[in-house]
């Protein structure tokens, strides 16, 4: 992934309040953390990035993190910048160093790979901004009681 500038480099497209809000890094008390690509537990996690086909002020209105990204408040850091070629906004996120991957029931629900959760959340943000909602799958026969035939 091409390294992106931090949110503070997004320039005047974002207001000062937006920059301050979106660029914050939230500390999480527990130790541990996702190992980097080289297996070093202290290395920062890789950024996950998605391009949203809307300008930054629509992706982060008033500098607020869009839902469902806000649910990860305290567990991730976020960067944003205008995409080149008038293609909207590059929105990046990664787990904060020091965040312990979920365990137990939480791991069962969201998976034990924080990157996967970040990816899925970014895709949901993209869907919400571009289409107004998050697309839901058809219910399958396995999700519902058998219909007598």
């Amino acid at each position: 992934m091409v390294p992106m500038g931090r949110l503070a480099r997004a320039g005047p497209a974002l207001g000062g309040a937006a920059l301050a809000r979106a660029a914050r890094l939230l500390r999480v008390p527990r130790g541990g953390g996702r190992p980097g690509a080289d297996g070093d537990a202290a290395a920062p996690a890789r950024w996950e990035v998605v391009t949203v086909d809307r300008p930054p002020e629509q992706v982060l209105p008033d500098g607020r993190w869009p839902e469902p990204l806000g649910r990860l408040d305290g567990a991730i850091e976020v960067r944003v910048r205008p995409a080149p070629g008038d293609r909207g906004t590059e929105l990046a996120a990664r787990p904060l160093a020091g965040v312990t991957p979920p365990t137990g029931l939480a791991a069962h629900l969201v998976g034990d790979d924080p990157a996967l959760l970040v990816r899925r959340t970014l895709r949901q943000v993209k869907q919400r901004v571009e289409t107004g909602e998050v697309l839901r799958a058809d219910r399958s026969a396995l999700d519902r009681p058998e219909v007598p035939g």
Binding site: T51, D53, R87, R123, T131, E133, L135, A137, D138, S140
Partner: protein, 382 residues
Amino acid sequence: MRALCWVAAGELGVREVPDPELRNERDVIVRVRRSATSGGDLPLLSGRHPLLRAGDVLGAEFLGEVVEVGPGVRRHRVGDRVVVGASVACGGCWYCRQGRHSCCDNAHADLASADPDWARSDVGCFGRPRAAGGFAGGHAEYVRVPYADVSAFRVPDGVDDDRAVFAADAAPSGWLAAEVGAVRPGDVVAIWGAGAVGQLTAWAAVRRGATRVLIVDRYEERLRMAERHCAAEPLDYRRDDIAAELRDRSGGRGPDVCVVAVGAPPTRSVADRFGGQHADRPDALREAVHACRKSGMVVVLGGTAGFVDAFPLGALTERRLTLHGAGRPDLRDVPMLLDRMARDELRTEHLATHRLPLARGPEGYALFRDRADGCVRAVFTP
């Protein structure tokens, strides 16, 4: 409701499945009136798709009547007769805004398992495994249509179901092939495969001004059909020297545009490939690359094998050919094609060689798969 489901490798069955329901604000529920077999289904039938589950409902090409409308739908009402494009597309992402609905970024519902490559996901479409980003198909009594304002199109009153159903996939695929092939007046166009999409590619090429359209197949009835309905010159590869014929009929230059529309062979699985078995040799594609004129265009439509061996890359580069993939059509051409159907400029009923009740779906697919009894497309009525 009843639906045609994948049951096991090589086995389909009409089963009782739960009715679909509105899941998003922009959904509609359609009561299916017609659904057609499609070449893209054939690899699924073999059971080699790793994500298929028993009970998955097939059918990418269908038409029906709107019976339920989500609160976010603006263009459709209960009672509308609509044809639904095979690609699920949101209409709001960068690709959709370029008219490339078949590359839509937001057509996946299962964002966790369907996107292992992260942002390189395939487009969602009907009648594909859920874990592959797909949605239940149209070989059913009812089907849910996401993003209905983008994906569903009202059928003009004068166009009957048997004609309009092919505006979902086959006709846009043919139009797309001619478009991405940049067919221009005076061109010679060669098409491999005289199935529904091949024939409709021939029709589109003629509409774009091609001087000659040559179509290659081995099924006599398909070749005659292409000649009669699409003004194509038939070539039977069992009898004719295809390379020589194409050269002769293009003044020695070779066709300007070559389109491979041969559908899907029973492809080997990924596991087979990594287990050491060789992939398929793309005979039609090889022939097209070798036949095409210098700096010409080769278009490969969907349904071909996932992996191929012995691709003539040297011929492609040395002769400066352009290779263009077109796996699934965009939606933007559907209204235009429906208009042409309404004006009798585009007639597709002849492609529905077998009209069957949905209960005989497995039989229809067997005919379609085996090209038996002159089958080009089997069309089902629930």
